[in-house]
């Protein structure tokens, strides 16, 4: 069992846990992910590493309550433990001195973007952060991002905080006014990463995206996380999770991400009311 050292709710239905896993913390690097199981009959949930503390032996994860398993994870508190916790998985972000790097974070994507931005800055890059959320309530880690970046631009879809607009609007304006950066990195929902990749293609700017596909083992054993990159099938778990955004087949990824939608609904119906999905709750 792996103990939850601290819990913080960052925004409605978005939580941050620090989990004690010294062996994982010792080796974790920005861009990698972990897989956890909440309980004995639980799913294996992949989550990108949001931060790590080698001295304390902890890994920080941030997640939004999306499906049955993340809702169940959200019910835990500091002092509780998760059944299984394994990592670090995947290839770490490639960090070097590129020059000017724009780190784009959509929604919960700000959590995995943060440690990469911090490493990029430490490697001598000029790091520009762009973070966006649907509204003010869903903005978190702004202070952390300010520290990790040289410049930080914040936007909300509805204009309830700082400005109105999508992260693509902010990126386009930035490129138009400040010129082309050497690298763009985007992490967030698939449609957002696709939009960023389409935009940077116009400007011919190298762009990396981090995929969070459906997985089982996370070690290259099952192939559930298949993605077509530049016409070739790759496994997100061992070849990624980061890929060249201009080569990723986003349409295929979107379709694959919906594979278990009906099952997810089925599980949620059960989990939400405790009727076991039999419809007894009339929900």
């Amino acid at each position: 069992m792996y103990q939850i050292i601290s819990k913080e709710t960052l925004a409605p239905a978005i939580h941050q846990y620090e989990i004690l896993a010294p062996k994982v913390a010792k080796k974790a690097k920005a861009g990698q992910f972990v897989i956890l199981r909440v309980h004995e009959n639980g799913e294996r949930i992949p989550l990108t590493i949001a931060d790590y503390n080698r001295e304390a032996g902890t890994i920080t994860i941030v997640f939004a309550e999306a499906g049955y398993s993340t809702k169940r994870l959200a019910k835990l508190n500091a002092g509780d433990a998760v059944q299984d916790f394994v990592g670090p998985l995947g290839v770490p972000s490639h960090v070097e001195r590129f020059g000017k790097v724009v780190m784009v974070a959509g929604g919960v994507g700000v959590a995995p973007v943060f440690p990469i931005a911090r490493d990029m800055k430490a490697a001598g890059n000029h790091v520009v952060g762009i973070m966006g959320a649907r509204n003010k309530e869903l903005i978190f880690w702004e202070e952390r991002m300010k520290d990790a970046c040289n410049e930080l631009l914040v936007t909300t879809d509805d204009g309830s905080y700082v400005r109105k607009g999508f992260v693509t609007d902010v990126l386009r304006e930035y490129i138009e006014s400040a010129g082309k950066p050497d690298l763009v990195m985007a992490i967030g929902p698939l449609p957002m990463m696709r939009a960023i990749a389409n935009l940077t293609k116009e400007y011919e700017i190298k762009t990396m995206v981090s995929l969070n596909s459906i997985m089982v083992d996370g070690t290259g054993m099952c192939g559930a996380c298949r993605v077509t990159v530049g016409g070739e099938t790759r496994f997100v778990c061992v070849d990624g999770p980061e890929f060249d955004g201009h080569l990723v087949d986003f349409e295929e990824q979107l379709m694959r991400s919906r594979k278990y939608k009906s099952e997810e609904q089925h599980a949620l119906n059960r989990g939400g009311c405790g009727c076991g999905g039999g419809g007894k709750c009339h929900g």
Binding site: N41, V86, V216, D217, C222
Partner: protein, 468 residues
């Protein structure tokens, strides 16, 4: 006058095919004591036991069968366990018809002695009994074993028996490797596997789950920082092969590894009581003709598929699966499409698989494997309407360790290169099982694990007493 040999093996009681095709309980129910003794009577107790030579771990077969005959089941178990740490597992999953039973003298004119069935009987007899564990004098040497599948478990058993301190690192959350994630419950009950593993733990073997060597520690770090004196790599053949056909990434196309892992390890068959879902499909095609293909097809039936097809490019005679698995699959209603090869996947606009285009084949000249090579018949394409396809054409080695160990020699397929004694190109590092040979059988992996255990033991003993 020589006594009359009963020409056929005593049949093992089975669940009725109609009933078992709908449940995950074990198909073959095993011999009773009476049946076991009666079957043991068929053994001639040959002076020169050819059967033993056919066994990858050299079980003293006539010796244990003679003890069964005398109803000395505990002693029979001791004989088997001298060389085979997992008799209840091997009695179930070994391809006996290609090994021990193939060489049985009785089998020349009759059916061979049911060695596998007897091994299983003895294994089951003692699996739940409290065994006396003989603890060897500790040598002080530490050995790390990577992977808790058949190779690693067999290697661990011998090393622990000789007094070495053994830790097994397992990437998944449950130990057992392919015995847990791959082979289904109806063929190998998971409680049997866990029980055999518990017995190993009693011998002092430590198992660390959720520990991916290569990611949490490189091999060099195992030696330098964690103080291990030798390492055995039994990481198996974990990377699924696909056919690289158009449409392979449509939803509904599974690797057998994924399909079986979801059902076996993650217990998706009890979704939503267990959280991991699985898409079963109404019509399912399984590509391949080995044991994994049979397991996938029979699992799909049990999960509720209406029709399940095995699509195999060669003919029945070339099916590599165990005979018993083929028969069981047929009895349960799996349909076989021989001399048929997939050419592309067909899907709908939402990305879901709707059909599998195949082409008919005919057998040509023998190929490198000695089997007649299947050749496509031009213009014979047809579409099999399926909503799920499970690719079971084989697996390659997992790259996580070789990627982080540049001085470990691998071949062009990515398999670790090891000599006949399990020794790799790296000092103190041994390997065996599927990661060396490519996908094979449980018992061959166990055999390789034992050979490597002996090599590791010799290597450590040659160093003299452990210095602190």
């Amino acid at each position: 006058m020589a006594k009359q040999i009963i020409p056929k093996k005593h049949p093992m009681p089975h669940q009725d095919p109609q009933v078992r095709a709908k449940n995950f309980d074990e198909v073959a129910l095993g011999y009773t004591e009476e049946l076991a003794v009666a079957e043991a009577e068929r053994c001639l107790n040959c002076k020169k036991p050819f059967c033993k030579q056919g066994c990858p771990v050299s079980v003293d077969i006539p010796e244990f069968i003679a003890l069964v005959k005398e109803r000395k089941f505990d002693e029979a178990a001791k004989v088997i366990k001298r060389t085979n740490a997992l008799p209840a597992v091997c009695g179930r999953v070994c391809p006996q018809e290609h090994q021990c039973e193939k060489f049985c003298v009785v089998g020349k004119k009759n059916e061979p002695v049911g060695i596998g069935r007897l091994e299983r009987f003895v294994g089951d007899y003692i699996v739940n009994k409290e065994e006396e564990i003989e603890k060897a004098e500790p040598t002080g040497y530490k050995v790390a074993i990577v992977g808790s599948g058949p190779a690693g478990l067999a290697c661990a058993a011998d090393l622990a028996r000789w007094g070495h301190s053994v830790t097994i690192f397992e990437a998944l959350h449950t130990p057992g490797g392919v015995l847990m994630y791959g082979i289904p419950e109806f063929r190998l009950p998971k409680r049997i596997v866990q029980k055999e593993i518990e017995n190993l733990k009693k011998m002092g073997v430590e198992i660390e789950t959720n520990a991916i060597v290569g990611q949490i520690a490189s091999l060099d770090e195992l030696f330098e920082e964690e103080g291990y004196d030798a390492v055995f790599l039994g990481t198996g053949a974990g990377t699924p092969y696909f056919m690289n056909l158009p449409g392979e990434n449509f939803n509904g196309v599974y690797s057998a590894n994924e399909f079986l892992t979801r059902s076996n390890l993650m217990k998706a068959y009890c979704f939503p009581e267990c959280d991991t879902p699985i898409k079963v499909g109404k019509k399912v095609a399984v590509l391949g003709g080995g044991n994994v293909a049979m397991d996938a097809a029979r699992t799909a039936l049990r999960l509720g598929a209406e029709e399940v097809y095995i699509v195999y490019r060669r003919s029945r005679a070339e099916l590599p699966a165990r005979l018993e698995e083929i028969e069981h699959a047929e009895e349960e209603g799996v349909k076989f499409l021989f001399l048929t090869n997939p050419t592309r996947y067909i899907g709908n606009e939402e990305g879901w698989l709707t059909g599998l285009e195949c082409i008919k084949m005919e057998l040509g000249e023998p190929d490198a494997s000695g089997r007649r090579k299947p050749v496509a018949i031009p213009g014979s394409e047809f579409v099999l309407p399926v909503d799920v396809t499970i690719v079971a054409i084989g697996q390659g080695p997992n790259p996580l360790i070789t990627k982080t160990t540049p001085d470990l020699e691998t071949n062009k397929r990515g398999n670790i290169v090891a000599d006949d004694f399990g020794k790799t190109s790296k000092e103190g590092v041994y390997a065996g099982g599927d990661v060396v040979t490519g996908a094979a059988t449980v018992i061959k992996a166990m055999g390789a694990g034992r050979v490597a255990a002996q090599s590791i033991h010799d290597y450590l003993m040659a160093k003299g007493p452990k210095k602190n």
